[in-house]
């Protein structure tokens, strides 16, 4: 009995420790972003050019790896989901009222205030989160992280900051793209399966500024959470390839979970802030 309590206690303790460490990674990443900006200001024109051009090309590489390479994946998954959702909605409505005039406008509201960013983030969490954790984790177990530290480089600045910035930017872009594709796919489904007039379906009049604010806020929150959780898992990899596998799995689970929790928190806060008038 006391053994079990002890085990529970030590599990709780290591969970708290991991939480603290995750928080530290987050704070250091933000600090690293700040340092990057101030460095850029000081160094204009002389010295440190090699380092800075390396940092810039790394950012470009990450933007490409995280953003461009996810486009097809996001378009296909969100497009399919848009079709299925519209089909199901029309099917149910057809049984009840047969009035499809609201389907398009309500779908758009739902996409902008929730499904667009959240589904994009879920997809990104699996694809990008796994990639980041595997890359950083294998560097950890082969001591490349230690080699970085020996050159006076902060691993968080060098490895996580560019991925963080790239993920923030690309999350927003991909969410816009994914939402557009989802809506368009819904419109096509409604037209060809249920004969809904596109002019009725593509009706933007129900969208209010607060929906767009929620869209952007969610994108930024997810875009920040995914690389930080994944990078944190990568940095915690221990041992050999097994450790990298563990880090990758933990990153996918952790970052998807973070997306869902953030979705809940942000949606609830939005409801509360608007007094339920969302």
């Amino acid at each position: 009995m006391s053994n079990r309590i002890e085990a529970l206690g030590s599990a709780a303790l290591s969970l708290v420790r991991a939480g603290v460490e995750l928080w530290r990674v987050y704070v250091s990443t933000i600090a690293g972003v700040m340092r990057g900006f101030s460095r850029r200001k000081d160094r204009r024109g002389h010295g440190g050019r090699a380092r800075q051009s390396r940092a810039q090309s790394e950012l470009v590489r990450q933007l490409h790896a995280i953003g461009n390479k996810s486009i097809v994946f996001i378009v296909i998954t969100l497009g399919a989901l848009g079709m299925v959702m519209t089909y199901q909605a029309c099917l149910q409505l057809g049984r009840v009222t047969g009035d499809y005039s609201q389907v398009g406008s309500q779908l758009l509201r739902l996409i902008i205030s929730d499904f667009g960013p959240t589904l994009t983030a879920m997809m990104l969490a699996t694809r990008v989160g796994a990639g980041i954790a595997a890359e950083i984790g294998s560097m950890k177990v082969t001591e490349q992280i230690d080699a970085l530290r020996m050159s006076g480089v902060l691993p968080i600045d060098y490895l996580i900051v560019p991925r963080f910035i790239a993920c923030l930017v690309m999350m927003l872009m991909l969410a816009v793209l994914g939402s557009a594709v989802m809506y368009a796919a819904g419109g096509l489904t409604a037209k060809y399966s249920f004969g809904v007039n596109p002019n009725t379906f593509f009706d933007l009049s129900f969208i209010r500024p607060r929906h767009l604010v929620l869209f952007v806020v969610k994108c930024l929150a997810y875009g920040a959470a995914i690389p930080i959780v994944a990078g944190f898992c990568g940095l915690r990899a221990r041992g050999s390839s097994e450790g990298v596998g563990w880090a990758t799995t933990a990153a996918v689970i952790g970052s998807s979970f973070a997306v869902i929790v953030l979705d809940f928190i942000l949606s609830a806060s939005a409801l509360w802030l608007t007094g339920g008038d969302l």
């Binding site: 160094r43 010295g47 440190g48 050019r49 090699a50 380092r51 800075q52 390396r54 560097m139 082969t142 001591e143 490349q144 230690d146 080699a147 970085l148 530290r149 020996m150 050159s151 006076g152 480089v153 902060l154």
Partner: protein
């Protein structure tokens, strides 16, 4: 400038329940070369990492160039680490960079990034020529043999003219001729820069030709330290046994030699 390059006092380090170092103390004067030998898994590599602040000791004090490094924050260790060159036992080369970029890395990141691109390119080329890797600049590290990786690691550790250089097994896995070449290179480098050197090797004979003194790590402590030239006739029986056992043949470094050592202790 009178303080030693490295001062380790009463350092303890354990991983979980596994004791690795138990009250180890070691001083290393500036400009001298110390060899560190010991059985496999005696904590030699761990000691190197402690000196660089890559790992924190459980107890004890470590000073490098008079600066205490225990408990220091990562950001504050950067300037000190740039004065140290380190060859990792398993190279730890950056696999996303080419050979040339690997060697250039410490120069690009070092000294507040004040070197021009031309200077960096020149110094990298000179270093690669010195280790005999001219012509492999554009290769990725995955395309290299073990010996080539080792030489890239050496080039990376020495390119910034570090004041303290730590070599973890510079000659493991190399043939005798290449081993001798590597040690000649390390000697020439040290003579040029006057750096302090800490070298780990299980090839005691080759190591003894390079360093001034040899310390023997055993049973979680430094049990012997003496001049390198006469290490085979050291007054400590453990050391004699270890060194001579090692010289029996290149293949039984951790095999029969170690077993006889264990028996002699019992």
């Amino acid at each position: 400038m009178t303080e030693p390059a490295i001062r380790i006092s009463e350092v303890h380090k354990a991983y979980g329940s596994r004791r690795v170092l138990d009250g180890i103390s070691l001083d290393l004067a500036r400009g001298t070369k110390l060899g560190l030998i010991g059985p496999a898994a005696s904590g030699k590599s761990v000691l190197c990492k402690l000196v660089c602040g890559l790992e924190q000791p459980d107890r004890g004090e470590i000073e490098v160039f008079g600066e205490r490094i225990v408990g220091k924050r990562e950001v504050d260790l950067g300037p000190l680490r740039r004065r140290i060159g380190m060859l990792f036992q398993n190279y730890a080369l950056f696999d996303f960079l080419t050979v040339e970029q690997n060697v250039a890395f410490p120069l690009e990141q070092g000294a507040a990034g004040t070197l021009s691109a031309e200077t960096i390119a020149e110094r990298v080329a000179a270093r690669l020529r010195a280790v005999g890797l001219a012509g492999s600049e554009a290769k990725l590290t995955a395309e290299l043999s073990g010996g080539m990786k080792k030489r890239v690691g050496i080039a990376r550790a020495t390119v910034a003219d570090a004041e303290l250089v730590i070599y973890d097994e510079p000659s493991a896995g190399l043939d005798p001729v290449t081993t001798q070449k590597i040690y000649d290179l390390l000697s020439a480098d040290q003579a040029r820069t006057g750096a302090t050197v800490l070298a780990i090797s299980s090839d005691v004979a080759a190591l003894a030709g390079f360093v001034d003194e040899i310390a023997f790590l055993y049973d979680h402590r430094v049990v012997y330290r003496g001049p390198a030239a006469t290490i085979a006739d050291a007054p400590n029986a453990l050391v004699r046994q270890f060194v001579r056992g090692d010289l029996e043949g290149p293949l039984d470094q951790a095999g029969p030699g170690m077993a006889s050592l264990d028996r002699s202790i019992k």
